[in-house]
């Protein structure tokens, strides 16, 4: 037994637990159930409800097991007469003013109050008076209902708001028996994480408005699956009834979500039943226009039937125009199995490396450890680069706050925009929009100098960072003991991500320092998509296309080895007619790629455009053939979160649509591949054999809580010139930073979304210097334009970025802000003027 452990006796059973463990948690280890209401392991002790009374030898009073730390040789008894009387008494008090409306209460069947009363309670109450007349169901927000009459004032929810979410939005008001849970001035409690209070309420006081009266808890089919909204991949339980989504709840997994989910995860899953869901294969004007090079598709095909013909059509085009004439734009939202099979189809089946899934630059693998979420709490420094976890990866936000406020972690950030987490950082260094390469190189350079490595001078001026700030940042990084670098590749322009990797490599050379990184792109399976080789220059597992020997060994003589076209290049070649056919899987280039109308023009130019998606989009409208993709809720497969953890997404709804992996299997078969996958896990099995880093991954090893894949080694990439040029814009133009906004009004959160109350109007955040120069005031409507792409927004000067830049959060599809990205992948210069 180490110094950090304590042995004690609970109900005669000896148990050894780490120092600092609460008696109530120690009891669980030996299957002793101590009833609680207010205690929640993740929130910490409160000691309000007094339900957890136990007897401790040598202590005269009954003690609360939830507030008491274990001590050596402590003897705890939980079933003595004194304890039982205490528990009965507390329960009687608890129930005194609690309505007995279990038959109509949503919590019925899964209510700790009901259960504890059954197990420990008095047979009946001796209360002879009318119950307190607290308010019945009232909205606490558009999605949460509060029944104050059912509240037992345990303070779990308000403690959650204070300690976990740290927004102090939900508070206790008043005093004594007037105590009630509430918000400021009765305003709605609608934070990013509000829904967790529903899960933790031990009675039916806080309920899901969307779920109220829809079904009894025991009538639900519950499926343990993953949230599909962001790269965190939080664990959830989808409760369905008669194949309809009833509710989503958090399913605690310490390695990922720490027990919480964000509100998008809880209320943003109604897209599974969207009216825009694609339910069958569909042809759009096939046989007309340019679609001439292959036989017309018969009408009323199922996707299954269409698969073989799609393969043949692509094959025919390859035969006529060569493998360079076809391409694939995959999805950072698809499962590993789908992504793996699609790249196999295009590489091994059609012989092309024209495969991609993104419009920014990135490469698979890391030169340092790939840290999982739990490492954040044990790091003494977390460095954010271009990352805004609060909007992009909400659970990461909670993790970081927990680390900073509870684990002594220091947060530092290097960012072009101010972010909510700046409130928690000890240093926030801001660089000008578009100058990330300078900022990152300067940091790397500073460290190199300290390390005695070759260093070149970086002129900081274009970044707007002061020398002192950079010096302090260098010092923080250098003097940390364990650092976790969280960077968002999709918010880095040009080759800045490669510079980050060079920086990481440099950090890893500091002998006193442990270092790891989290590539924090917000898309659900961005890491998996790269790992699976949805890249023009890498095979799965980070094998470069140029590594001929390895590729021939692994994939056969005919596997293509030249670098393929990137997604943006494919669009460009479609425009010129060099690219003839394109398959798009769960991606919407028209809306999400730079260029706007130009993308539409390019796609219209294709001989064959096949779009395999789950919802109708602007791109499916252009497709000659639309195949239905199942997508989250209906699909099965694994995804890899930003922490490198591979987990299984399960199917919650029945569908007669064939799963995506099977369709791709059919396509492969049509080209002569004989592999037959009977279930998705057969593909997982192949991945574990084929993909470096995934050797240990199997349906079994992933199980309920997932399994970390091995680090994928990164390849040294040539980085451009050391000193980047940051060009100046012309007068009146600013560099545009598109920011992510969690609750964007798009195909996923459509007009009927439960989260519609979060939708915002288009806003442009300006630096006051620029605003002054341009004569713009808060509230003015301004016009941002680049060529003929225009966007209206309301101006707000809050110095969210340094002067010379403008931040516009993507708030909806209609807003069309992505059309304003420069097609070369750099932040665009946009003209800004008042209308």
């Amino acid at each position: 037994m180490s110094d950090n452990e304590v042995t004690l006796t609970i109900d005669g059973k000896s148990v050894t637990v780490p120092k600092g463990t609460k008696v109530v948690d120690a009891a669980k280890q030996v299957a002793v159930d101590i009833p609680v209401f207010c205690y929640h392991q993740k929130i910490g002790p409160l000691g309000c409800c007094r339900m957890c009374l136990v007897e401790v030898e040598k202590m005269p009073k009954l003690m609360t097991a939830c507030t008491m730390d274990v001590a050596p040789d402590m003897v705890v008894k939980t079933t003595t007469e004194k304890v039982e009387k205490g528990q009965k008494g507390v329960l009687e008090f608890t129930l005194l003013n609690h309505p007995l409306d279990c038959p109509v209460c949503d919590k019925g069947g899964e209510c700790p109050l009901q259960d504890n009363t059954f197990k420990y309670g008095p047979p009946e109450t001796r209360m002879e008076f009318n119950r307190a007349n607290n308010a019945k169901a009232t909205p606490l927000s558009p999605v949460i209902t509060i029944d104050r009459e059912r509240c037992i004032a345990c303070q779990r929810c308000t403690a959650y708001s204070e300690r976990i979410e740290q927004g102090q939005g939900l508070v206790m008001l008043n005093r004594g028996f007037h105590n009630e849970v509430g918000t400021f001035n009765n305003e709605p409690y609608d934070t990013r994480f509000s829904g967790n209070v529903i899960d933790i309420c031990p009675v039916g006081a806080l309920t899901n408005t969307d779920f109220r009266f829809k079904a009894r808890t025991w009538d639900l089919s519950n499926v343990d699956t993953l949230c599909a909204h962001c790269g965190c991949n939080c664990n959830i339980t989808m409760g369905t009834r008669l194949n309809e989504l009833m509710r989503v709840e958090a399913r605690p997994n310490d390695a990922v979500d720490d027990g919480w989910i964000c509100d998008k995860g809880r209320w943003g899953h109604h897209f599974v039943q969207s009216k825009n869901k694609i339910l069958t294969a569909r042809e759009n004007g096939v046989g007309t226009g340019k679609v001439t090079s292959f036989p017309a598709f018969p009408l009323n095909w199922t996707t299954e039937e269409a698969a073989g013909s799609v393969a043949e059509a692509f094959k025919k085009i390859v035969e006529e125009h060569g493998p360079e004439s076809v391409g694939f734009i995959g999805s950072p939202y698809g499962t590993n199995e789908e992504n793996y099979l699609y790249q196999k189809f295009f590489r091994q089946g059609l012989g092309t490396n024209n495969i991609d899934h993104k419009t920014y630059q990135d490469t698979p693998g890391l030169p340092v450890n790939h840290y999982g979420f739990e490492q954040i709490e044990t790091s003494n420094v977390v460095l954010l680069i271009a990352s805004d976890p609060t909007e992009e990866l909400p659970i990461l936000d909670l993790r970081i706050k927990k680390a900073v406020t509870g684990c002594g972690t220091r947060l530092v950030s290097l960012n072009d925009q101010k972010i909510a987490l700046d409130n928690y950082s000890s240093q926030s260094v801001q660089y000008k929009v578009g100058s990330e390469a300078v900022a990152i190189d300067a940091l790397a350079n500073g460290l190199a100098r300290e390390l005695g490595e070759p260093a070149s001078d970086v002129d900081l001026a274009p970044s707007g960072i002061s020398a002192e700030d950079m010096k302090a940042l260098v010092e923080t990084v250098r003097s940390s003991m364990k650092i976790c670098v969280v960077y968002n590749p999709s918010a880095l322009s040009g080759d800045a991500v490669l510079r980050v990797k060079r920086l990481l490599k440099l950090i890893s050379k500091i002998p006193t320092l442990e270092c790891g990184a989290i590539p924090a792109a917000s898309m659900t399976n961005a890491v998996g998509a790269m790992d699976m080789g949805l890249l023009p220059d890498f095979y799965p597992g980070g094998v470069p296309v140029t590594d001929q020997e390895e590729i021939k060994n692994q994939y056969g003589e005919n596997a293509p080895t030249g670098t393929g076209l990137s997604a943006l290049e494919m669009i460009a070649r479609a425009k010129t007619g060099e690219l003839k056919a394109l398959l798009v899987h769960r991606s919407n280039p028209v809306m999400d790629f730079p260029g706007g109308l130009q993308v539409t023009e390019a796609l219209k130019n294709l001989e064959l455009l096949v779009v395999h998606d789950m919802l109708e989009t602007e791109t499916t409208e252009l497709a000659h053939l639309v195949l239905s993709s199942n997508g989250p809720g209906y699909d099965e497969g694994t995804t890899t979160n930003i922490g490198g953890r591979v987990q299984a997404r399960k199917k919650a709804f029945e569908t007669n649509q064939v799963p995506d992996w099977k369709i791709i299997n059919l396509m492969l078969k049509a080209l002569g591949d004989e592999t037959e996958y009977r279930r998705f896990s057969d593909v997982t099995e192949e991945i574990s054999q084929q993909v470096p880093g995934y050797q240990e991954i199997s349906k079994k090893s992933v199980g309920k809580v997932g399994c970390d894949r091995e680090v994928i080694a990164s390849v040294d990439e040539p980085v451009l010139e050391n000193q980047v040029q940051v060009e100046a814009g012309k007068d009146g133009s600013l560099r545009l930073r598109i920011a992510t906004y969690l609750f964007a009004h798009d195909k996923i959160l459509d007009a009927s979304s439960k989260l519609a109350h979060h939708f915002q109007s288009s806003t442009a955040y300006l630096n006051e210097k620029d605003a002054q120069k341009l004569g713009i005031q808060d509230g003015d409507t301004i016009l941002l334009s680049m060529g003929d792409v225009r966007l209206e927004a309301t101006a707000m000067t809050n110095n969210r970025c340094l002067s010379g830049g403008v931040v516009v959060p993507r708030i909806s599809d209609e807003q069309g802000v992505n059309a304003l990205i420069d097609t070369k992948g750099r932040p665009a210069w946009v003209d800004v003027r008042k209308v």
Binding site: Q168, G169, V171, L173, N174, R175, G182, T183, F184, N185
Partner: protein, 158 residues
Amino acid sequence: MSGFVFSEKQEKEIEGILAKYPFKKSAMLPLLTLVQRAERVVSPEAMVAISNKLDCSPAYVQSVMSFYTMYHTEKVGKYMILFCINISCQLNGCDKLLEHTAKKLNIKVGETTTDEKFTLHREECLADCTRAPMMRINDTYYGDLTEQRIDQILDSLG
């Protein structure tokens, strides 16, 4: 909500208050008191102003303020009468005197006179028990009350 602004004089005072503590939040009750004494009420707008001063949420301000009985969400009268009804005063007949006071002011306990001059509240022990029955009007303690003395006191408050 930004309807509430501290006066220049108050800003000065606030500076002095903040200087007393190593952490701003400690100034919570002093700031609430400052507002209550000046406005005779703490409005939601004032709570927002305080939350901005102390870097906390307005909900937090409301949570704290609603715990304490000396802050009011409805404007109280120019003279705030806290009438002690706890045991020592009870033993000395405060109940009848309170009734008398209410009748004299022509209001019920807990109410404010229509001219906003007096508010009458029942109060727990105010720590002047040896002079029971007693009451506090604004900052002044009045002990050894009788009906006549109450009348005199109230009449003298112009």
